[in-house]
């Protein structure tokens, strides 16, 4: 019996160590990426980087003001496009979970989620760039939005389903119609979670490069015109990183650092928003 207990302890110890090891292995790349990006990028990150335009080849200095603005505009378009569609779609799935149509939609959302982002880019290129023969911010925003939609759909669906059934019954028992109950009671109750889902989706697409390569393309100048090509941090980083110039490499590192920080910031904002809304909901 004693030997049995010892064997079990040993087994337990062994698997605990294994789990700890797996965690460390998973964290190493993240730590290394952060370390390397900060080490290489921090030096080039200065006020000029945020406020200046890119300099022509050969001149040192300059910044990525246009690309920063571009990324903000592009994810703005993506959110405007994806949030209403995704939320309404998620509400439908949560409200009519058993229908054939819903299972088709759910499957479609999962497939869309798995489509490589470059394919989404080609699609947006085909329907929004080719007909007008011009790269545009709208095409880029829509491509990013298409990537967001499935994430928003599934989060909305799951969070609405988590709302206690009693709330729905309470609203219906007071003579609310079904849509009234959903939009007045159930959706607001699920809102904190849905908001996090949206911010997480935004953080994800903010880091996309492939779908922008032949939709928003790039722009060396300041532009807020939605029908014109638009710079973005990711494409700018890509362009600079594959260039042969040292100065551009430094800028690419700085851009990468900024991207990582933006995503970190979005995640923190998501957390704070949830905490605030939850506090409002509970006390």
């Amino acid at each position: 019996m004693t030997s049995n207990l010892r064997r079990r302890r040993l087994f337990s110890r062994f698997f605990e160590t294994l789990c700890a090891l797996a965690v460390i292995i998973a964290l190493i790349p993240l730590a290394m990426i952060l370390f390397y990006v900060i080490k290489e990028g921090f030096g080039a990150l200065n006020v000029d980087f945020f406020t200046r335009m890119p300099k022509p080849v050969g001149e040192s200095g300059g910044g990525m003001a246009n690309a920063i603005m571009g990324t903000l505009i592009l994810i703005g378009i993506a959110a405007l496009f994806a949030v209403p569609i995704g939320c309404l779609c998620g509400i439908h799935l949560a409200e009519f979970p058993g229908t054939k149509f819903s299972s088709v939609v759910r499957f479609a959302a999962d497939v869309l989620n798995g489509v490589p982002s470059i394919v989404i880019g080609i699609f947006a290129y085909g329907i929004l760039v080719l007909p007008v023969k011009r790269f545009s911010a709208i095409a880029g925003g829509v491509a990013l939005g298409l990537l967001m939609i499935p994430i928003v759909v599934r989060t909305t669906e799951e969070l609405i389903r988590l709302v206690p059934g009693g709330l729905r019954e309470g609203a219906l028992a007071l003579g609310a119609t079904r849509s009234r109950a959903v939009f007045g009671v159930i959706l607001p109750a699920a809102l904190p979670g849905i908001l996090t889902g949206i911010l997480v989706a935004l953080a994800r697409v903010a880091g996309e490069t492939a779908p922008l390569l032949f939709t928003a393309f790039n722009n060396r100048f300041w532009s807020t015109n939605l029908t014109q090509p638009m710079a973005s941090l990711t494409v700018q980083v890509f362009t600079y990183a594959i260039s042969p110039y040292d100065d551009w490499h430094r800028q690419a590192w700085a851009g990468a650092l900024l991207l990582v920080m933006m995503i970190l910031l979005l995640s923190i904002a998501a957390r704070l928003a949830v905490r605030r809304l939850e506090r409002m909901n509970r006390t």
Binding site: G98, P164, G166, L167, R168, E169, G170, A171, L172, A173, L174, G175, A176, T177, R180, G184, V185, P188, A189, M280, N281, R282, T283
Partner: protein
């Protein structure tokens, strides 16, 4: 087997008011009610029936859970539904305001008349019905909104926008639900910060705000401590002056304390329905007696 026994007993006691015997005629029912309750001091005049249930069956898919329910629920009285778990009393109370409609594959047949109007009739409007028939649930379910917004919810969806009118009705409803003095200084804080008993009274206030005629209560105090429970019971006692109340309860003492009439449900049938005193002191059916004396259930 149960049915045959019930019928036989009923035949042996013609005066026994047993609702499991189908009654087609309203007038006949009234006469019978009058005949039965004539000796009782409380009901010298026949109770006006607010809700008349006739041959009501209910199915979840293929499973029949209510069998030929016949009940006459009097106006401005408290009617308690008692019976063991799974006997169909909750299904029945939820049929009165058609809350079961949201369950897929649920189906009803027979009629439930409120003031002579068929709840399940072809042109019956569920939304309108639920505004006339309020409901309080077993688990208090305040919306994650402020106390004020909870009570105003039913009014707002009814289209009321006038701030003064809203304020007035919110105050009146909270007062009726015996909650006003506890919350008047924090109307605009979240309802979820209230205690369990307060939340349940808030739900009652919310139901009263739309001025229903009938109030359905599905085990309203089962999740509350004794003090909160007694508050709810006092409240029920006061509310019956203005409302017809139907209450499902597992608590026999509660049924005896708050109700005027009691229906004993068993396996989807009404075994016995009479004055509450009669059910508890002098039940006609052996099964009722066994249940109220705690021999089973």
């Amino acid at each position: 087997m149960m049915m045959t026994e019930t019928r036989r007993r009923d035949a042996a006691e013609p005066a026994g008011e047993d609702a499991s015997v189908p009654l087609r005629n309203d007038v006949a029912t009234r006469e019978r009610n009058a005949a039965v309750s004539a000796p009782g001091p409380a009901a010298s005049s026949p109770p006006q029936s607010k809700i008349s249930v006739r041959d009501f069956d209910f199915y979840y898919g293929a499973a029949k859970v209510l069998h030929g329910i016949n009940l006459d629920i009097p106006d401005r009285k408290v009617t308690a539904l008692i019976g063991p778990s799974g006997c169909g009393k909750s299904t029945f109370i939820r049929s009165i305001n058609r809350m079961n409609d949201i369950i897929p594959e649920a189906r009803a047949s027979g009629t439930i008349l409120i003031d002579g109007q068929d709840v399940y009739g072809g042109h019956a409007d569920v939304v309108e019905l639920r505004r006339r028939v309020g409901m309080v649930f077993q688990k208090s379910n305040p919306f994650p909104k402020s106390i004020y917004d909870n009570v105003a919810y039913g009014l707002r969806i009814g289209g009321m926008r006038n701030k003064r009118q809203l304020d007035e009705i919110v105050e009146r409803s909270l007062t009726r639900a015996a909650l006003w003095h506890e919350v008047k200084d924090r109307l605009h804080t979240s309802a979820l910060a209230l205690s369990g008993g307060q939340q349940q009274r808030l739900c009652i206030a919310r139901a009263l705000a739309v001025d229903p005629q009938v109030l359905l209560m599905d085990e309203p105090a089962s999740a509350l401590d004794p003090i909160a429970t007694s508050k709810i019971e006092e409240l029920i006692y006061e509310l019956k002056e203005n409302y017809t109340i139907v209450i499902v309860t597992h608590n026999m003492q509660q049924a005896a304390r708050v109700s005027d009439r009691t229906a004993f449900f068993m396996m989807g049938r009404v075994v016995e329905y009479a004055e509450t005193n009669a059910i508890f002191m002098n039940p006609k059916q052996k099964m009722t007696e066994d249940y109220v004396t705690g021999r089973f259930g």
